[in-house]
Symmetry: C2
Subunit: 390 residues, 2 copies
């Protein structure tokens, strides 16, 4: 049957790279490609205890339909957590979502008409490009450097092109690991207020700090309520739960609740009840510290190995946190066409090009250090060096 | 701040009725309004056992990111279940979703351009109207009678107005409890093939049969692959899990996977693994039989009480299954304006009007019999009779 799909389906692409990376899932390939946390660090026993408690308390409402906003005591937990990060919020400013990806999708649903312009960093999170693209958005890309997005360039772009929305991952960002400096955060908040433009601050990695100072989210400087903040438990508890949240003005939350109602009624009741129990009855701070220690160690190993194996023509970022770093090869390299050769050599990475909303970056690539053991990282970088140093 | 929302936000409405019904949540109001299963029947102990097993098996992948399509062994379970219902499907025809509401939303995303026409029964499921409306669809309503949608009227509407898509709940439907007859199912499948038009068969209540013959889903007659079937565990296991599935051609599933990827990456890994374990290690058939016995009993009580309390001017449906029946009052009644009086009299229902996509039905109302005890049902109908027999 020939289906008459909606216009937006032309904007949903199956990625060729995704297909190649499926091949890379074989156990003899060292994959530095994915964006997975280390499963051996998941607090599986504490999660089991939480499910046991919540399901054993003789309260069947944990399995019943519940409100779209989300479980109030969990929203209270999150509001407290957000206050520690300098945000002035109440539970009414919070909506629970199926991971922060759903937050992104609901915000896109709320703001984007076909043809609307979204300002993004160059490069930016691939999953955000895909979501915005599926709502038929156009992109305006803003250059970034070691201190994150160039805020002056962003201001010029706002003045000249009036984007509808800005999307940013300011902290230990995917894909480069770069963090927006404190000065730029303050400057950015002023610009948002001045031009009355909303910004999505996507912050999945903020808790994963290995060195450098604590930098509060941009939203903590946002006295004018221009920022919609996305948080998630995917990197601090586990991604397979699918639990995230949106922090925004009450007016935006009310609209997001309507959008979510039509989308999937609400996020799982049992999941929210269990997560609330887990947050209040386990040592999550200690658990996050364990993750920090281990990922920080893996980052150090990767940086050391890159230094030992690559010459001055190859450069890379040195992130203070997160799960990724970013490698730039000399201009004549094409990491997309080299990927099958890498997989043949039993190592995988993600080519940088798909992270550029408007093309470019063919000589770049993203490496993940959270999901491989130190030994795998050492061997993986050696295999990449053999490929790229030819 | 004034937000420049997308056009579609004008099509998302907060319902005044929903606000009134929030008041009706107080414990002294007998609510025949909601669409909730009976929580006292949830298999909470078996679900606890399943979580314990899955989380206790020393396999952290149950908490990791997983594929958008869903856990293969669970898709295999569902494919088997669908075969028993006469559908010729493999796991490749199945996508796991966050309840069947998400299936609806993803299908709308896939098919609906602003202004597209959707054919629906009159009345139809309110949540479907809201979802389609949020994609800026227009509606074409087709009359129904005791045997379900009038298939000849549907064919005429297809010829004259060429809708993009048809949405139907053929079995024990929400809101009326009516079931499409076998003859009409066969006829409908032929019409879909002839006019090459896709149909969504929403089947949340199919397992809840209390009397009358087993009638296979329309999709079992759909040799031309025109039907997208929506299933859910919300009524057979528990709605607070949020787990449903789509059955469709491989081409449609591939597109839905792309749409879901941008929407929320995937449905919870732990939830899917646990549900797979539950389905294979508990007596779900016996559990469903328990639900059937109890809901069937509650339906009988409600029908008996209606007969005892209302005269010939009031009529109602006599459903063979599901969770709802439908009451029609004399034309001069307005169930929307009467609702606050009902709540004052400590009984709640859902007015029928919102279930009509293009207006009408002011003298109708929906009653739920699954979520109240027999005593509450008896007392609730008496209170309604006092109100409506004045």
């Amino acid at each position: 049957m020939n289906y008459a799909f909606a216009e937006r389906v032309n904007h949903m692409e199956s990625s060729a790279i995704r297909e190649i990376l499926k091949v890379a899932e074989s156990p003899d390939v060292i994959s530095l490609a994915g964006g997975l946390p280390a499963p051996e660090l998941f607090p599986i026993q504490e999660i089991q205890e939480a499910y046991n408690h919540v399901l054993g308390a003789n309260d069947p409402s944990v399995l019943q339909y519940s409100t779209t906003e989300g479980y109030l005591p969990l929203r209270e937990d999150i509001a407290e957590k957000m206050k520690e990060k300098g945000m002035h919020v109440s539970p009414d400013n919070i909506l629970l979502t199926n991971g922060s990806q759903q937050g992104l999708d609901l915000i896109a649903k709320l703001f984007i008409n076909p043809g609307d312009l979204i300002a993004v960093e160059d490069p930016t999170y691939l999953g955000a490009i895909q979501t915005f693209y599926s709502y038929q958005a156009n992109f305006l890309t803003v250059p970034t450097d070691k201190e994150g997005i160039n805020v002056d360039a962003l201001e010029t772009a706002i003045k000249l092109q009036q984007p509808k929305l800005i999307y940013l991952t300011p902290t230990y960002k995917n894909p480069t690991g770069v963090t927006l400096s404190l000065e730029r955060r303050q400057h950015l908040a002023k610009i948002l207020a001045k031009y009355n433009i909303p910004l999505i601050e996507d912050d999945p990695y903020g808790e994963l700090r290995y060195s450098g100072p604590v930098i509060q989210p941009v939203k903590s400087f946002d006295t004018a309520e221009r920022i919609i903040y996305l948080g998630t438990f995917s990197k601090t508890i586990a991604p397979g739960l699918r639990l995230g949240w949106v922090v925004a003005s009450k007016e935006i939350i009310a609209k997001l609740v309507l959008a979510k109602q039509g989308t999937d009624l609400h996020t799982g009741t049992l999941l929210q009840r269990t997560t609330h129990y887990y947050l209040n009855n386990s040592q999550i701070e200690k658990h996050i510290e364990t993750i920090r220690q281990e990922y920080g160690h893996r980052r150090d190993i990767m940086l050391k190995e890159l230094k030992a194996n690559f010459s001055g023509e190859v450069s890379w970022t040195e992130p203070s946190g997160g799960m990724f770093l970013w490698v730039s090869l000399p201009e004549h390299f094409n990491t997309v066409s080299l990927l099958p050769k890498a997989v043949e050599a039993k190592v995988a990475y993600v080519p940088g090009a798909p992270f550029y909303a408007k093309g470019g970056g063919l000589n770049t690539l993203r490496l993940n250090f959270s999901n491989s053991s130190p030994l795998q990282i050492q061997e993986g970088i050696k295999r990449l060096a053999q490929l790229f140093n030819k």
